[in-house]
Symmetry: D2
Subunit: 326 residues, 4 copies
């Protein structure tokens, strides 16, 4: 199945991914991880909920930690260009027969809750409470010095269909992995905000959230985090890396939060704003696809993920498997 | 004069700044500087002209060195979203009473030549010959490891008016310097592609090109370039820096090419895609505006620039002066 | 067995490790690896032999590549403080009943060839041809930007005995790994020149050379080398890392040259000149000993090594095994 | 006057520079600077005195801040190889007719107080209270991540004579600046511990302490400190840099503590343990001597320094002047 042609004029204008709400079982423990080890800034906190932002963000939060019984993910939040784009989004999702609801979200303006056809819960808004810039408050930088949320990656049972749907929303493919035998997509990276992705899809039991990613300034920030986690009781939370992705060219590290939610730390991908940028194709059997330096990802990386609240999970259609570490 | 409200729906869609043609008096000498010292990749070369691209760019060139008698700058090139945007640009500029012409440009598709109301020559196109990706050809990285062209900075005799015009084109202000006594703009940074700027305006004799900037991965690449230039006969070409700008938060270095064209090397500004991002205001008298670490820029930095071919130069309306190094 | 007390006043004064001669089967192929990929500087070359130095070294060479049939290692070279120290070395080794010989070595002054009691061939000299400094010739820096040879690591069949012998020579232990069950040393790091080591011993079939190490300025140089090797046909030559050693605190990478000789790239250990510095003890079962971040070394790293020319190999006395990657 | 031949066998064995006691007028203010901004670790504190160590040091302190009326420097501390070396030092200094005294120093063993012939107060000891290693306690790293004290630099009224005296003590010259007209030394760098220097002399009114230097891991730590100081009320404490020294090849920054004591932050010089290493000569008129990138030092850097308690200051014999920033 060939890649769909980019939809240059989508019905409404999504600016970028914005935030995620993660249910965690112990707020104190999670706060230590996100605020002390990673270095995200707490912008709101009560007994049920902690909001955090990264250092160059002015929107109120990019992560909400919500106390709960099971470590699931709630809506993936996307910021749209204007209030009218939320209305257009409602029209679009309704026309697809997908459930839509206007919901109240603290610190956010008008918010539309809906889902994609595969069960991924989505949230669209334009306005969020903005906070004063802190990117030059160098006293606040610690941990991995996270600058901004960069992207979501979701397990999809049918990456071709996921790509086709997000393509309609105006997301464009920058890189993709094809199973050479079936000519089906095994993974794809799609963007709105001008980097390699705001969203990626990985073949697997889905829908599930594979990981949420934060952008950092240099690979040295990632090395600092590894050193810090290694002597702070987080050794077992290091899952994969550091390394250079073949896909995206980013320097990366994958870690797990205290509830197992996977987080990627990421830097040095490239600018993708050109409307005629050609996607880069990778073969599923190419080990440098995952890691340019050759090291395969561990089994857990391919198998484990976070359930979306209320979403039933199915097996992927495509059975092809990448190279996995022993 | 307050900042104009952002024009969220301009008449045509400019994606980003794209390239500049610099007239140089000795091609061999300039090639040594741009290709060997800076590390840009030569993509075309004949006895009159050398085209270069940076490492993550797929468009044919971001710099054209043209042999000539006087070191002037020709058109500032901008890439638009689609072919129809070029036509809309023609309509827009014609309606303003500005000269328009369809021109032939090697390696480019349909190209509109025009100028802004202050005499800055502009060029709009959608299609340029694309080359295969080389960002993972690590053998090619040298010099300062330039990844992409980042922005132009022009002297303007009336920054308020320049900002108002580019605002109409959909450029949004991210940061600006105000003269507190007159409430007039002394400098402003405006963007299309989602960083701090594609274009900036500095108060001064104009129109002139102040500098062209390349984005690099980390401050260490800039330190490497300083070391390299220092022992390669380019010591006198180092003009200002390294330092951290207060404005934009970027780590920077200013150098001069063999003809005196000013080049900035730059990294680590921030993402600006949010349509509700508030501009940051700086006071002209604040020394940290220029350099967060306090060092003022040298006199040459405020006074010298490259003439645009055929453009008459006038004195600035605003006489206020920033802090200058002795 | 407790660590021996440091011998603060050895019979002769060894300044530092200096060089190694590696037999390689294809000089052209090896030159490409050492000079182009790693970035060592060729200081002499004929059809049989290539000499190389690192960027801050003024001695003629730290590596000699010698053409031969089998990829073995020849003498490990050490520089002594003065000519009289070579004579004292002769007396010392003779008194131990070890073979000594005065040999001719190109580019070197008077040279004593001998061996340690376990069969490791050694070479002591004071004078080597010196070359002009090139550490500020920044045009020459490429590959991993190697600054100097840092240490040798050898497999030993009896690390306690190796440490006792080198202790007599004035090498002091900085860190060591003990098998908690037998209280015997599993590995040890001993130094002369003021870093964590000039020589290390690892329990295993020996004597064999485990690796030779080059010091580089920052972890980013190692990341650059990984990127370069990955796209230059050296993907399979990457063996282990990058990572942070628990022992020595160094940031490291292990690679194999085209003949399988193991090379470590290394930075950021610490100063050890204090005569009262206490050695740091590690437990063989502690996974952070090898890699602070937890990743175990691969099996090849524990098993494979380079034979010393003419030295018979025996099994280690200690059978305890560290954690090995699956 | 030619450089003296190195004294390879001095009367006693100095291992390295070790510590300095700085008199400060406000302990709280100084603690904020040294412990919070620079990131040195407090190891002792009372109402009169604060001891600090850098991250890889195990000796109790490298800086003592002593409350007092005038911001002077007390003894420059040097660690010797063994207790018997202190006795030999006493003999040596007595024979020179210099005052010697056995003094009590908290946290130190037997300590000899004396001075050099030019009035610089010196202190020799072998034993200091040692603390457990903290170099892998990555939670403690902040500010500029200081790893160890690196060297002292003193104004000397007669650099030739200073060099001759320290040469007798076994310090060897690594680099030096000569006034080409008089053939006299303008500055010299002399070492014991295997880097470019433990001590340096700069022509000027003396004796005075020019600066104390801390070693850091990479230039990025220095950039981080500049960012931090710039927004923490320490903007005026930045005096010179960042830059690359021609001499020593180190990346540097000069700052002033709240009392004006000058501190250098420094990384990336080179190993100097070879007993036959040739000194590198620089011409006083060479601007790259000071800063490889060409920027001259400010006037304050050449003129201001810290008085040694009780030492009378004289004018330098040599009147030649280097290039100074306007």
């Amino acid at each position: 199945m060939p890649l769909p042609s980019p939809n240059l004029y989508p019905d409404f204008n999504i600016v970028r991914l914005s935030h995620v709400e993660s249910v965690v079982t112990d707020l104190t423990r999670s706060k230590a991880f996100y605020a002390e080890a990673l270095g995200l800034q707490v912008t709101y906190e009560d007994g049920n909920r902690i909001c955090l932002r990264a250092l160059e963000e002015r929107n109120h939060h990019c992560v909400i930690l919500k106390k709960g019984e099971e470590p699931v993910a709630r809506d993936l939040g996307f910021k749209v260009y204007s209030d009218s784009d939320i209305d257009k989004a409602e029209t679009f999702f309704k026309a697809k027969g997908l459930p839509v609801a206007w919901v109240e979200r603290p610190h956010q303006g008008q918010t539309l809750k809906t889902q994609d056809p595969f069960g991924v819960p989505l949230e669209f808004y334009h306005q969020m409470e903005t906070l004063r810039p802190i990117h030059q408050q160098y006293r606040l930088y610690k941990g991995v010095r996270p600058l901004r949320i960069d992207h979501f990656n979701c397990f999809s049972t049918d990456v071709d269909s996921s790509v086709a749907f997000y393509n309609e929303l105006g997301f464009r493919v920058t890189e993709y992995t094809e199973d050479e035998e079936t000519n089906k997509l095994w993974a794809a990276w799609v963007y709105r905000k001008g980097g390699v992705h705001d969203m990626a899809f990985t073949n697997g039991r889905g829908p599930r959230l594979h990981h949420v990613t934060f952008w950092v300034p240099t690979p040295l920030a990632i090395i600092d985090l590894l050193d810090l986690m290694s002597i702070s009781g987080y050794l077992a939370n290091i899952e994969r890396g550091p390394g250079r992705h073949g896909i995206s060219n980013a320097f990366f590290l994958y870690i797990r939060d205290p509830d197992g939610h996977r987080i990627e730390i990421y830097c040095s991908d490239y600018l993708t704003v050109d409307s005629d940028l050609e996607p880069i194709k990778w073969d599923l059997k190419d080990p440098q696809r995952q890691t340019l330096w050759g090291a395969p990802a561990p089994k857990s990386w391919f198998e484990e993920g976070t359930l979306f609240e209320g979403a039933a999970v199915e097996e992927p259609k495509l059975k092809a498997q990448p190279i996995v570490a022993p």
